[in-house]
C-alpha cells in the first residue's frame, strides 16, 4: 500500500488528475460504444434480445439510483419502488396526453418521471430521513405500503392491477423516430441510461456527493465538520428518487403500460437484490447486479415456475459467501489475475465447479419435483427434467436427487482446501510481484 502511495506521489498532483480524468473518460467512451453495439451482438439481434437489453437498461438506472442511497449514503430503503412507480404513472399519463394532442416529443417523457420522482423524494425525504439505520428502513417500508395502497384505492389514476396503457408511437416524431421498433426504444433507453449514469457518477464527485460517503461512514463526525446529516440525506434521497422516477418513465415507454405493481414491495425487493448481488458499495456493482438479476428474471421464468425460489437462493448464497457481491469478487481477483499462479487458481475453481454442478442438479431436481407436486397436483406424477422423463410416484427420482446432492456436497467440500491453497499461492504471488 505505502509503496503504491509513494509511486503515485512522485507525479505532480496536476499530472495525476489529468491522467485520472483521461482514464475516466476512456471508460465512459467504452461504455457508450458497448451500448451502441449491444443490439447487434449475435443472440441479441432479435426482438427478445433487444427487449431484454431495454429491461436491463431500465433496471440499471433504477439500481444505480438505489446505489446512491444504500451503497453511497448507507440508507437501507425497503420502498424505493415508490418513486419508480410514481414516475412511471406520471410518464404514462403524459403519454396519454400526448396521444390527446399535447405537442411534446415522446423521447422526453422520462423527464416527467424524473420530475415526479424528485418531487416525491423531497416530500417523503423531508420526513423520513431524520434517523438512518433501522428506523429509516422501517419508515421506508411503511411509505412503500402506504403509496401502494393509495394507488390501489385510486383506480382512476393507477388503473389498479390492470394498469394504465398508452401508445408511444403517436405524437411528434423527432428525427423521424416513431419509437415503434424495439431497436429505437432500446437506443432511447440506452441514451437516458448513459446520461443518468454519468450524472449520478458526477453527483458523487460534488461536495454534497462526497459528504454522502462521509455521512455513510460516520454521520456524527459529519456534524462536527459543519454538515447536517439530515440535510445530506434529504438531498441524496431526492436525487435517488429523481433517477428512480426516470427509470419508471423508461418503463412506461418500454411497456406502454404501468400498473400498481410498479410501485410495489416486489420491485423494492428486487432492487435490493440487485444491489447486494452486484456489490453494495460499488457504482459498477449496481449495473452488474441489475444486468444479472434482469437476465435471471427473464430467463429463469421461461424454464421453471419456481424461478423466484432460485432467485432467493441465489441471493442467500451471495449474502453469505460473497457479501461484497460480483463487484467485490472482481476487485478481489484483479491483482491476482496478473500473476502466473492465477492459472492454478482457475484450475482449482474448475475442479470445485464440477461437484458444485452435481450438487446443484440434485437440488434442482428436488425443488422441481416438490414445487410441482405442491403447486400443480393436477399435472400428475410424470414430468421431464434435464431431458429425462421421470415418474415422481416411484422413489427413484427422489433417491437419485438426494444421492446427487450428497455426493456433490461431499466432493465439493473435499475440493475446497485446494481452492484456498491455490488462492493463498496466487495472493502471495501478487504480493511479491508488487
Amino acid at each position: 500500500m505505502s509503496e503504491a502511495g509513494r509511486a503515485t506521489g512522485v507525479l505532480a498532483p496536476s499530472t495525476r488528475s489529468v491522467l485520472a480524468r483521461l482514464e475516466q473518460h476512456r471508460l465512459w467512451l467504452v461504455a457508450a460504444l458497448i451500448l451502441v453495439a449491444l443490439p447487434y451482438v449475435p443472440g441479441l439481434t432479435g426482438n427478445f434480445g433487444r427487449s431484454l437489453l431495454s429491461q436491463m437498461g431500465i433496471a440499471a438506472v433504477f439500481a444505480l439510483s438505489y446505489n446512491l442511497l444504500l451503497g453511497q449514503t448507507g440508507l437501507l430503503s425497503f420502498g424505493h419502488a415508490v418513486y419508480f412507480g410514481l414516475g412511471g404513472y406520471a410518464a404514462i399519463h403524459l403519454m396519454r396526453a400526448i396521444s390527446g394532442g399535447l405537442p411534446i416529443p415522446m423521447p422526453l417523457v422520462p423527464l416527467a418521471g424524473a420530475a415526479t420522482g424528485l418531487f416525491f423524494g423531497l416530500l417523503f425525504g423531508s420526513v423520513t430521513v431524520r434517523r438512518a439505520g433501522v428506523i429509516f428502513a422501517l419508515i421506508s417500508l411503511g411509505v412503500g405500503e402506504l403509496v401502494y395502497a393509495l394507488l390501489r384505492m385510486l383506480p382512476a389514476i393507477s388503473g389498479g392491477e390492470e394498469g394504465i396503457t398508452a401508445n408511444r408511437t403517436v405524437g411528434l416524431h423527432v428525427f423521424g423516430l416513431t419509437l415503434g421498433p424495439q431497436l429505437q426504444i432500446y437506443y432511447l433507453i440506452a441514451f437516458w441510461a448513459f446520461v443518468s449514469a454519468a450524472l449520478m457518477y458526477a453527483f458523487l464527485r460534488t461536495p454534497v456527493g462526497r459528504m454522502c460517503n462521509a455521512v455513510r461512514d460516520n454521520a456524527e463526525r459529519a456534524e462536527f465538520i459543519g454538515y447536517d446529516p439530515v440535510r445530506v440525506r434529504i438531498v441524496v434521497l431526492a436525487v435517488a428518487a429523481m433517477f428512480a422516477g426516470l427509470a419508471g418513465g423508461l418503463h412506461a415507454l418500454n411497456y406502454e403500460i404501468v400498473a400498481s405493481e410498479a410501485a410495489g414491495t416486489g420491485r423494492s425487493g428486487a432492487v435490493l437484490l440487485m444491489a447486494y448481488i452486484g456489490g453494495v458499495a460499488n457504482f459498477l456493482g449496481a449495473i452488474l447486479g441489475a444486468v444479472t438479476i434482469t437476465w435471471l428474471q427473464v430467463n429463469l421464468s421461461d424454464y421453471t415456475t419456481a424461478w423466484q425460489l432460485y432467485l432467493g437462493l441465489f441471493f442467500v448464497i451471495f449474502v453469505l459467501f460473497a457479501p461484497r457481491g460480483l463487484a467485490g469478487l472482481i476487485v478481489m481477483h484483479r491483482e491476482v489475475a496478473r500473476t502466473r499462479a492465477f492459472f492454478g487458481l482457475l484450475r482449482a475453481y474448475a475442479i470445485a465447479l464440477l461437484p458444485a454442478i452435481v450438487m446443484a442438479i440434485g437440488a434442482i431436481v428436488l425443488i422441481e419435483i416438490n414445487y410441482r407436486s405442491a403447486t400443480q397436483p393436477e399435472a400428475g406424477p410424470k414430468m421431464t427434467l434435464f431431458w429425462i422423463d421421470i415418474d415422481t410416484s416411484t422413489p427413484w427420482p427422489w433417491l437419485a436427487a438426494i444421492a446427487l446432492l450428497a455426493i456433490g456436497y461431499w466432493l465439493f467440500r473435499r475440493s475446497l482446501p485446494a481452492v484456498s491453497s491455490a488462492w493463498e499461492h496466487a495472493a502471495e504471488a501478487a504480493r511479491t510481484q508488487r
Binding site: 500500500m1 505505502s2 503504491a4 502511495g5 509513494r6 503515485t8 506521489g9 498532483p13 488528475s17 485520472a20 480524468r21 458526477a202 453527483f203 464527485r205 460534488t206 461536495p207 454534497v208 456527493g209 462526497r210 459528504m211 460517503n213 462521509a214 455513510r216 461512514d217 460516520n218 456524527e220 463526525r221 459529519a222 456534524e223 462536527f224 465538520i225 459543519g226 454538515y227 447536517d228 440535510r231 445530506v232 438531498v235 436525487v239 458499495a281
Partner: protein, 249 residues
C-alpha cells in the same frame, strides 16, 4: 477578549448530576487545559460545549454569542471544532478524502452539487497542506480505517483543524500513544494552535504542563481551580483532590 465563556453549566443524566455548575472564561489565543480524575466530567463538558449534548441549565457563549443547546454543525459553523477521545474518523474514505471533506464547509462549498471537488483548487491545496502538516502525505490514498492507531490520532486532529476554526477542542489527543508518538503529537498541537484558541483535555501531565498557558482542574463536575501551571502545581486543594498522586506516579 474571551473566546469561550461557560456560565454556571449543569448537566444531569437522569438523576445523576455530572456537571455541577461550571463557569469558565477561555481567553482568545490561549492554550487552556482541563485536567481532573477519571469520571470528573471532562468529556461531558466537551460534549456540552460542542453541541453533542444539550446542557440541563446554564449558558455557553462563543465569542460573546450564545450557542447553548445548538446542533454541532451550527456550533462548528460559528467557529468551534473538536476532536474526540475515541478516534472518530470516516473509516472507508481515503485519508485525503477525510481531510478534503473537512475543509469543504469552511471554504463555502456547503451542499453544492454543481461543482466537482477535484476541480476545487482551494479545497485541494488546503487538504494537501494539512496532510503535510499532520505528516500523512505518504498515506494519502490509504483507507483511513486501516491506518495505525497513532496515524488515526493524527488524522483525527487533521479533521478537527481542517476547517480553520478559531476555537479548537482536543479531547485527550495523546491518549494511548507511545512517548515518541506523544512528543510528535505535542509538536503538532503546538504548531496548529498558533493563532487559535485551544482547549484540551489531557491525562498526560508532562503534555499539559508543557503546552498549557492556563489549567482548569475539574473534580466531580466542578472546577476547583483555574490558573497558570506553576500555581496549579502549588495549589494545595488541587494536590489533595487529584494532582499529587498523578505527579508522584
Amino acid at each position: 477578549m474571551i473566546a469561550l465563556k461557560l456560565v454556571d453549566l449543569h448537566k444531569s443524566f437522569g438523576v445523576t448530576p455530572i456537571i455541577r455548575g461550571v463557569s469558565l472564561d477561555v481567553h482568545a489565543g490561549e492554550r487552556h487545559a482541563v485536567i481532573g480524575p477519571n469520571g470528573a466530567g471532562k468529556s461531558t463538558l466537551f460534549n456540552l460545549v460542542s453541541g453533542r449534548f444539550a446542557p440541563t441549565s446554564g449558558a455557553i457563549l462563543l465569542k460573546g454569542e450564545p450557542i447553548t443547546g445548538r446542533a454541532p454543525f451550527e456550533i462548528y459553523r460559528r467557529g468551534l471544532a473538536r476532536s474526540f477521545q475515541v478516534t472518530n474518523i470516516f473509516p472507508r474514505l481515503s485519508v485525503y478524502e477525510n481531510i478534503r471533506c473537512s475543509v469543504l464547509w469552511s471554504l463555502g462549498y456547503g451542499y453544492s452539487f454543481r461543482r466537482r471537488v477535484s476541480m476545487l483548487r482551494d479545497a485541494n491545496e488546503r487538504s494537501e497542506a494539512i496532510l503535510e502538516r499532520i505528516r500523512l502525505a505518504s498515506r494519502r490514498d490509504v483507507q483511513a480505517g486501516v491506518l495505525t492507531y497513532a496515524e488515526q490520532r493524527a488524522l483525527e486532529i487533521g479533521i478537527t483543524i481542517a476547517g480553520n476554526a478559531e476555537v479548537v477542542l482536543l479531547d485527550e489527543p495523546t491518549s494511548g500513544m507511545s512517548r515518541d508518538e506523544a512528543a510528535a503529537a505535542v509538536d503538532l498541537i503546538r504548531s496548529i494552535s498558533q493563532g487559535r484558541t485551544l482547549v484540551m483535555v489531557e491525562h498526560d501531565m508532562s503534555v499539559v504542563f508543557d503546552l498549557a498557558d492556563r489549567i482548569s482542574v475539574l473534580v466531580y463536575g466542578e472546577i476547583i481551580a483555574t490558573d497558570v501551571p506553576e500555581r496549579i502545581r502549588a495549589n494545595a486543594a488541587v494536590q489533595t483532590a487529584y494532582l499529587g498522586a498523578a505527579v508522584d506516579a
